[in-house]
Amino acid sequence: MDYILSILVFFPAIAALLGFVIDKDSARVYGVTVAAIEFFLSLWLWFSFDGTNAGMQFVELIPVIPDFGVNYYLGVDGISLFIILMTTMMTLIGIMSLSVKENVKNMIITLLFLEMTMVGVFVSLDAIIFYLFWELSLVPMLYIIGAWGGSLRVYAAVKFFLYTFAGSLIMLVGMLFMAYTYQSLTGVWSFALTDWYALVLPVNYQMWLFAAFFIGFAIKVPMFPFHTWLPYAHGQAPTIGSVILAAVLLKMGTYGFVRFSLPLFPDAAVIWITPIAVLSIIMIIYTAMVAYAQKDMKQVIAYSSVSHMGIVMLGIFAMNAEGIGGSVFQMLSHGIVSGALFMLVGVIYDRRHTKMMDEFGGIAAVMPKYAVIFGIMLMASVGLPLTIGFVGEFLVLVGFYQVSPIMTILAGTSIIIGSVYMLSLFKKSFFGPVTKEENKNLKDLDAKETWSLVPLVAIVVWLGIYPKPILDPIDNSVKAMLNFMDEKAITQEAKDMIHVAKSTKEAK
């Protein structure tokens, strides 16, 4: 069916509306079925997706406000396909492992709305539609953190909402200015991304627009100075909130960089490489050290996801196919690994209602299955080869080495300090004798939790050993984008920096 994308976007929303009718205690089953259907739809999208063609597929274009060029324009390519797949999968697994007790029905409805907005962000090719879904995605997350959160939840939810909202307003200004320049150059209003791609802007315009988009995306990533909302959001959010927040919402920022900032402003992107690289390295090292100092298990993982996003940012600005492809893959791997880690923290939180590491000790003896899964996820997050974590990290570091060796070595320390804080977390909670009384008789994983974690472990191992089916479409789209950026770049140093892979040259 050719309207697959619209179905993918609006099916969860309609189902959510119907959800109001469903009675309370069968809400969870309803949620799981809807999420499962959505997941199979996205699987169907993957199978009917043609990996070799790098351009946009399943495109839908319906003019909404013709004279202002705002049209309902959807499309998917190698880069966005797998993020959509991960979104639907993580929502399904999140709902399956939902451990929230009170008003589950509202939670299911909010989650389905959230899924609509998330999928919408990754499929939309029109700036306004992108912005619409971008802002809408904040609202359900605000409720999830605000209503089902911990003690400081209102502060965290409001801070999260306002912080991201302020950033995206500046991005909106950038979009409007971009549309205005498009209109002044071509005489026609248009917000369609493909038209904007064709627009070659003078460098100072590019610099300003890049800055505007940068602030909008940097807060969402979150990049170094703007990251302080994340520990609060994760600290107060319920497990399902943290899983979705870490798995998908952080990827919107980096996806924005790859979809908007790079192709639209190639010259500005090249000029911005060093500042962003410095920021990302600070991000990687600084947050890894802060993670090491944490007492609360969930904060460790929250800070670790900032550190991993630093690596993703580095990959994006490596300006070569290995780097960008690696960063897209790292987005997927971080989504799955940190999503699973948050679920694991949720498991122990449900049993002990505390996340403080020194409350636990020697759990490996008491809950062996839980310890094994946590160990595998830990190794994936530290980047052990043959797990999903290594492929992305390796490609990013390879890619960025071409830009500057010293920075790559600095960024490379992430595998060291990454293992420092993860292993110290594992040792404090799992190794050592069982000191606390309460830990003596903790039950191991029950069916619900195992059924949601085992698929994630399977994916982590499968994509670590055989990432080819995922890497090829990403590779094609990234090479096509780089090729496009190379032709579009005006300044000479941009042309030299953007490294078009030799294979695309022969293929041309």
Partner: protein
């Protein structure tokens, strides 16, 4: 036919690991150990047939399973090559691991997570096979990290042990030692990764043959960079000077682990890397000389620390460290095949030594302090013979393997004209002989220093002793295969012959080394044969304390690296994150709130105030209008 032999050799350990993992949670089942050992044995048989095949036909067998990573111009397949170097390593690894598997059936028999142990051990062997057999640097890196993780799992096997202070347990606890090992290996792996990147961006691919083919047309500083980076990786894995403290702490793991990983296989991975990438190191003379220098220094350094150590397994760990120094010295000086020969020979007798130590530990209820042992000769006769034999080989006495492999290295040092290295290596040979026999005499000879009613030592099970016998035999006869080994291996590695000049002196050189070795043994005999008399003056002399605390390096690392790191991260968290970054964000919000509040106060509800404000506004506008009129 050959292809699936390669796959069998490679995947048999994986199958055994998964099989054992299935029973990971359940109670001890001996058949798990037996099947694991059988699978390992099949892998050994496959490797042996491959060795014969490669020996007869002389050319390598290359196999590509599937593509692993393909992005941009980077293409990394799962490719495996079986050539002279990798087949020797394969056979050595699979043989020793089979023996260790059989040994651990006996050794671990009363440990409740018996099955889990075998799954980790077989997983280790699988990653070691991947490391050895892969045909590209990325595959090597997979094995590299896989081996690191398995050693982390195995060192921290007894994770339930609590942390102890440094005084009564120098490596605090198994889980602490495991983390230390993993993190230290990771530091070196970063260097290795950088080496990979240098090679990739200058060569375009990470396959061995592509890289070695491209070496001639790369300029010197790139080659130097790559060589140094790869050597840093090797240093971490083989615990060379700055990154050596994890090896002695790794003794926290069960003894079969120390025997297999920290004596025979994993620590030699660094030497294997230098041997495997010999074209690169041959072309960079300064780096090779640096490797040789580091190797010799570590040999001497480790031997010095072993002289005074009281822990049975730590002495053997130091001797491994010192022998690794020897191998790096040989590889650094260009004698790659001699390094490989010593690597293989060393694996046999060091594994034997460790397993013997395991028997002693088992008998003495995990008591490790040799000052509290003695007189076990009568009770544990076979173990005594095994450990005596292994120590003799280690010291390098004539008919045994050590003599051929170690002396060859000392000869290369002489042959290369690097006399300082030669002298140090000879002195270290003497020290090696002294401390290994000090340990033998203190444990087996002299008076029983343990109290009888608690510990009544008994010999290990029969089948374990039989399992150890191949190692003993090989330790004895390995020397005689030296020439056959040379012809076999130098078809791939660069040939290395002693010059006429050294041939002329060969008898003199061997005499000197043997003299030092025998001297060491006699000194140990006179000092420790009857028993142990402690003289206080020696023990709290400065040098003794310095060596006992491993030159205070672990304490140095603790004070200079781990404590400041923790303090800085604490500062970062509270200082920067909470105070500066978060404060600014909340400050902005607070500012907006405050300014709003100020305006609120203007709404007094009193009409005249509003009128006043209105008048002020009117006047200001008038003034502005007048001023602009004036200017305009």
């Amino acid at each position: 036919m050959m292809e699936n032999l390669v796959y069998i050799a490679l995947f048999a350990p994986l199958v055994s690991s998964l099989f054992a993992a299935m029973f990971g949670m359940s109670q001890r089942k001996t058949f798990v150990g037996v099947i694991a050992s059988l699978l390992l044995f099949t892998s050994f048989v496959a490797s042996a047939t491959l060795a014969v095949e490669v020996f007869t036909t002389g050319e390598a067998i290359a196999v590509t399973m599937m593509q692993w990573i393909g992005m941009g111009d980077l293409y990394i397949p799962f490719g495996f090559v079986v050539d002279q170097v990798s087949v020797t390593m394969m056979t050595m690894v699979s043989l020793i691991s089979t023996i260790v598997h059989v040994y651990s059936i006996g050794y671990m028999d009363h440990d409740k997570s018996f099955n889990r142990f075998f799954s980790y051990l077989s997983a280790f062997v699988f990653s070691m096979m991947v490391l050895v057999m892969s045909d590209n640097f990325a595959g090597l890196f997979i094995g590299w990290e896989g081996v690191g993780v398995c050693s982390w799992l195995l060192i921290g096997f007894w994770y339930h042990k609590p942390d102890q202070s440094r005084e009564d347990n120098p490596s605090i606890s198994p889980s602490w030692a495991a983390n230390e090992a993993f993190i230290m290996n990771r530091i070196a792996d970063l260097g290795m990764l950088v080496g990979l990147f240098i090679l990739y961006w200058n060569v375009g691919s990470l396959q061995y043959d592509a890289v070695f083919a491209a070496i001639p047309n790369l300029d010197q500083w790139i080659l130097n960079g790559a060589a140094i980076a790869l050597f840093i990786g090797a240093m971490g894995k083989s615990a060379q000077f700055p990154l050596h403290t994890w090896l002695t702490d790794a003794m926290e793991g069960p003894t079969p682990v120390s025997a297999l990983i920290h004596a025979a296989t994993m620590v030699t991975a660094g030497v294997f890397l230098v041997i495997r990438a010999n074209p690169l190191f041959a072309v960079t003379p300064e780096v090779s000389y640096f490797i040789a220098a580091i190797g010799t220094f570590v040999a001497f350094f480790a031997a010095s620390m072993a002289l005074v150590n009281r822990d049975l397994k730590r002495i053997i760990a130091f001797s491994t460290l010192s022998q690794l120094g020897y191998m790096f010295a040989a590889a650094g000086l260009g004698a790659y095949w001699i390094a490989l020969f010593h690597l293989v020979a060393h694996a046999f007798f060091k594994a034997l030594l460790f397993l013997g130590a395991g028997n002693v530990m088992h008998a003495m209820h995990d008591e490790l302090d040799i000052f509290k042992m003695g007189g076990l000769k009568k009770v544990m006769r076979p173990t005594y013979i095994y450990m005596g034999l292994a120590s003799l080989t280690l010291a390098g006495i004539f008919p045994l393997a050590g003599f051929f492999s170690k002396d060859a290295i000392i000869e290369t040092a002489f042959n290369e004209g690097t006399y300082i290295l030669w002298i140090m290596l000879v002195v270290t040979a003497g020290m090696t002989a002294f401390y290994s026999f000090r340990q033998v005499f203190l444990t087996f000879h002299g008076t029983e220093r343990y109290d009888h009613h608690e510990i009544h030592p008994h010999e290990m099970y029969k089948f374990v002793l039989i399992a150890m016998s191949p190692l003993a035999i090989l330790a004895v006869i390995a020397g005689f295969f030296k020439d056959g080994f040379e012809t076999f291996v130098t078809s791939l590695l660069p040939a290395y012959h002693m010059s006429e000049h050294t041939h002329h002196y060969v008898w003199l050189l061997t005499a000197i080394v043997t003299l030092f070795a025998v001297g060491g043994i006699l000194l140990a005999y006179f000092k420790y044969n009857k028993g142990l008399e402690r003289n206080e003056k020696l023990e709290n002399s400065f040098i003794y304390k310095l060596l006992a605390n491993q030159y205070y390096i672990p304490k140095l690392y603790e004070e200079l690296i781990s404590k400041p790191y923790a303090m800085i991260s604490e500062k970062f968290w509270h200082g920067v994150d909470m105070k500066i970054v978060d404060r600014t964000v909340d400050g902005v919000a607070h500012f907006l709130y405050k300014s709003g509040d100020v305006n609120r106060r203007m709404q007094t509800g009193n009409l005249s105030h509003y009128l006043n404000w209105m008048a002020v506004g009117a006047v200001v506008l008038m003034v502005a209008a007048a001023v602009t009129a004036m200017i305009g």
